[in-house]
């Protein structure tokens, strides 16, 4: 979970061209200015990283890194 949260934070930081320390897990991605195109790119990168299939609406449904990490953790733990 911590690794996944850290990986997501670095991923979002790379899109925003910010330092990961500047990214809070509890702030909505939209607040950071992550537009819809990058929300989809993030979905694609997550799929590649975790080898899962995601609903493309996942970034709308889980608006923060904290919520997204929780969701993805439960997803990868499923048998």
């Amino acid at each position: 979970m911590d690794d996944l949260h850290k990986w997501l934070t670095h991923l979002v930081a790379s899109y925003l061209e910010k330092d990961p320390d500047e990214i809070s897990g509890s702030v909505s991605l939209a607040t950071y200015g992550l537009d819809s195109v990058y929300a989809f790119v993030m979905c694609g990168d997550i799929e590649d990283h975790l080898d899962v299939r995601l609903e493309p609406t996942v970034a709308w449904d889980y608006e923060t890194i904290d919520a997204l990490a929780d969701h993805l953790s439960s997803l990868v733990e499923q048998p």
Partner: protein
């Protein structure tokens, strides 16, 4: 009561991969990846040598029932997304009207609802025919556009546009597809259309599924139906993900939205719902008695839904 007596389409000859348009459309690698992987875009259709006149004539030429009915056509309505200025007296819709021998018809253009103008044209045709009171009178709605400029070739981060065209014969009675209701709403604060940016663009993105759901619900109410009664939604072909999002919002099964044409035709301006009607019929997705909903959104921003019985 407005009915669609016949709907015909023209699918242009040239099949173009969206991937091959990356440079022409100034798409970044990231955008291309999103278009292909999440938007469900793959190809579009173009008619490289054809004009708007050619597209409209080709679609009208596919109408099997038009021949012999020319004197009954009272109105020819061209539904456009993009307003086009041409030197007087050049007018594609007037030329098509003359070429088809529709000498008793008044011809004009509607573009005020942008990509939702096709549904607007059907509604106007029905109202005019009803007002006239002649049960034999007909109207012809024509739609299909050229993708000359970058603004006409794509809606940035939303869709890639193609040149599919449609011709719709509208009657006051006696057709196979009966209009049950029509709902439309224009949110004028987004009138900047393609030039929306910043917070306003984000606001538009946020309200888009809600605004479309609102007119779909309103059309269902007017038809005395619930949205769950709709057998098939014939959408605009902008992209797949917008329909995934909308279906999730309203709890409508995605498999009852006809998305088959998105990777084939791209977004063909006002023609999308009519292209989808023809495809859905030919693939057996609509049977007699089914109700279906045509949906369209025009930049500017107009949200429209029309419910019909097949």
């Amino acid at each position: 009561m407005t009915v669609l007596k016949e709907v015909a389409v023209h699918l242009p000859s040239q099949r173009v991969a969206v991937r091959s348009l990356q440079e022409e459309l100034h798409l970044t690698d990231v955008q291309l990846k999103v278009y292909e992987r999440f938007y469900g875009l793959s190809h579009i259709l173009r008619e490289p040598e054809g004009t708007v006149y050619d597209l409209l004539m080709a679609a009208a030429g596919e109408l099997g029932t038009l021949h012999g009915l020319e004197r009954r056509i009272r109105y020819v309505i061209q539904a456009r997304t993009l307003p086009v200025a041409t030197p007087y007296p050049t007018s594609a819709v007037q030329e098509v009207t003359r070429s088809l021998g529709l000498h008793r018809a008044q011809a004009f253009v509607v573009f005020h609802h942008a990509c939702a103008s096709g549904l607007l044209a059907v509604d106007i045709a029905g109202r005019l025919l009803e007002r006239d009171g002649d049960p034999d009178a007909l109207a012809l709605v024509l739609t299909g556009e050229k993708t000359f400029t970058i603004a006409a070739k794509m809606v940035p981060d939303v869709a890639v546009n193609g040149e599919g065209a449609a011709a719709i014969l509208v009657a006051p009675a006696g057709g196979r597809d009966q209009v049950l209701s029509y709902a439309t709403r224009t949110h004028g604060r987004f009138s900047e259309g393609l030039t929306l940016s910043g917070e306003k663009l984000a606001e538009f993105g946020e309200m888009y599924p809600k605004a479309l759901a609102e007119v779909m619900g309103e059309a269902a109410d007017r038809a005395g139906l619930a949205l769950t009664d709709i057998d098939l939604i014939l959408p605009h072909n902008v992209n797949r993900v917008s329909w995934v999002r909308l279906c999730k919002l309203i709890g409508f099964p995605l498999d009852r939205v006809f998305l088959d044409n998105i990777p084939v035709t791209g977004h063909c301006f006002c023609a999308d719902p009519f292209l989808n009607l023809r495809s859905a019929c030919s693939r057996g997705r609509l049977k007699p008695g089914d109700t279906y909903l045509m949906a369209a959104v025009g930049l500017g921003a107009t949200f429209s839904a029309m419910i019909l019985k097949h």
